[in-house]
């Protein structure tokens, strides 16, 4: 079983994280911003699992489980908010949602 370098895993995780960050910074559709946040959370989990595999401890995988639970709760609340926003403003543009009044 061959082994590879630790830094390659970290580089892959950082590339995925930066791609998610570019998505959050540049898109204006709120669904795409949520997808990009999911990509960033997944990349952070990848870094945790890589660290856990490096030291052969289960802690990294436990952290990934917590990130998974947090992402599930966050995406359910955020998608409910997207539905409300679309019913009230008829748009997905974040520029239109400057005010948080109802």
């Amino acid at each position: 079983m061959s082994s590879f370098n630790v830094s390659t895993v970290l580089i892959v995780a950082s590339i995925l994280f930066v791609l998610g960050l570019i998505g959050v910074l540049t898109r204006k559709n709120i669904i795409f911003m949520l997808i990009s946040v999911e990509i960033m959370l997944n990349a952070a989990g990848l870094a945790f699992v890589a660290a856990g595999a490096k030291w052969q401890q289960p802690d990294g995988q436990v952290m990934f489980l917590f990130i998974l639970a947090m992402a599930a709760a966050e995406v359910s609340v955020a998608l409910a908010m997207v539905l409300q926003i679309y019913h009230q403003h008829k748009t997905m543009d974040v520029e239109e949602l400057k005010e948080l009044k109802d």
Binding site: L19, F32, I39, V49, A53, V62, A71, L83
Partner: protein, 195 residues
């Protein structure tokens, strides 16, 4: 094992690039599924089979299905894609993505400068994870239960389809009420004059 890792990480990066550049939401979600499956393959090659299975079930299964349901409920069609194409001009994304890519270049140089530590692939089996999860992390598991409960209640409350309600000063059609008051006073005045 290492070639498997390289191939799947390449697939993950390419699929993620496709995700953040698509105009149509469903196309982006399809590429997102591919990206999550590739990341699951990376987890498998890192020696974490339990996490790979969870990635497939929860990320590629549950969360993507939530997104697809919302896209179906909002009825986002070709109009949204055209609108998104209008919003996503190069003038908008060129500046931030250039700066972020510079930061990432710094990070990669920093990671490549130190001499690489070899990473032996040994499987951390689910039993070890479960013993750690219900041993030293039991408090955090309960907190995650609170978080999921709050997520359910919050999503049910926010997603409830309610009417757009006005401020309490604007309720009961206050302007119309004033107008009717004025007409009533005028009628009273007219009746007094007639009498």
């Amino acid at each position: 094992m290492s070639t498997l890792f390289y191939i799947s990480s390449l697939i993950a990066i390419v699929a993620t690039i496709m995700v953040i550049t698509r105009y149509h939401p469903i196309h982006a979600l399809l590429y997102l599924v591919v990206s999550f499956l590739a990341v699951a393959m990376i987890f498998l090659s890192l020696g974490a089979p339990f996490i790979a299975v969870l990635e497939v079930i929860i990320y590629a299964g549950a969360i993507i299905v939530l997104f697809i349901f919302v896209v179906m409920m909002l009825n986002l069609g070709k109009d949204t894609a055209l609108q998104e194409k209008e919003w996503l001009k190069p003038r908008v994304w060129l500046g931030p993505s250039l700066l972020v890519l510079l930061l990432q270049g710094e990070l990669i140089i920093l990671l490549l400068q130190q001499e690489g530590a070899a990473m032996p692939v040994t499987v951390v089996d689910p039993k070890k994870v479960a013993l750690s999860l219900y041993g030293e992390y039991i408090l955090a598991v309960e907190l995650a239960g609170f978080l999921l409960m709050a997520g359910i209640v919050g999503a049910a409350h926010i997603g409830k389809h309610k009417k757009r309600n006005l401020h309490r000063f604007l309720q009961n059609g206050n302007g119309a009420g004033e107008a009717s008051d004025v007409t009533r006073q005028q009628k009273q005045a007219e009746s007094v004059i007639n009498n």
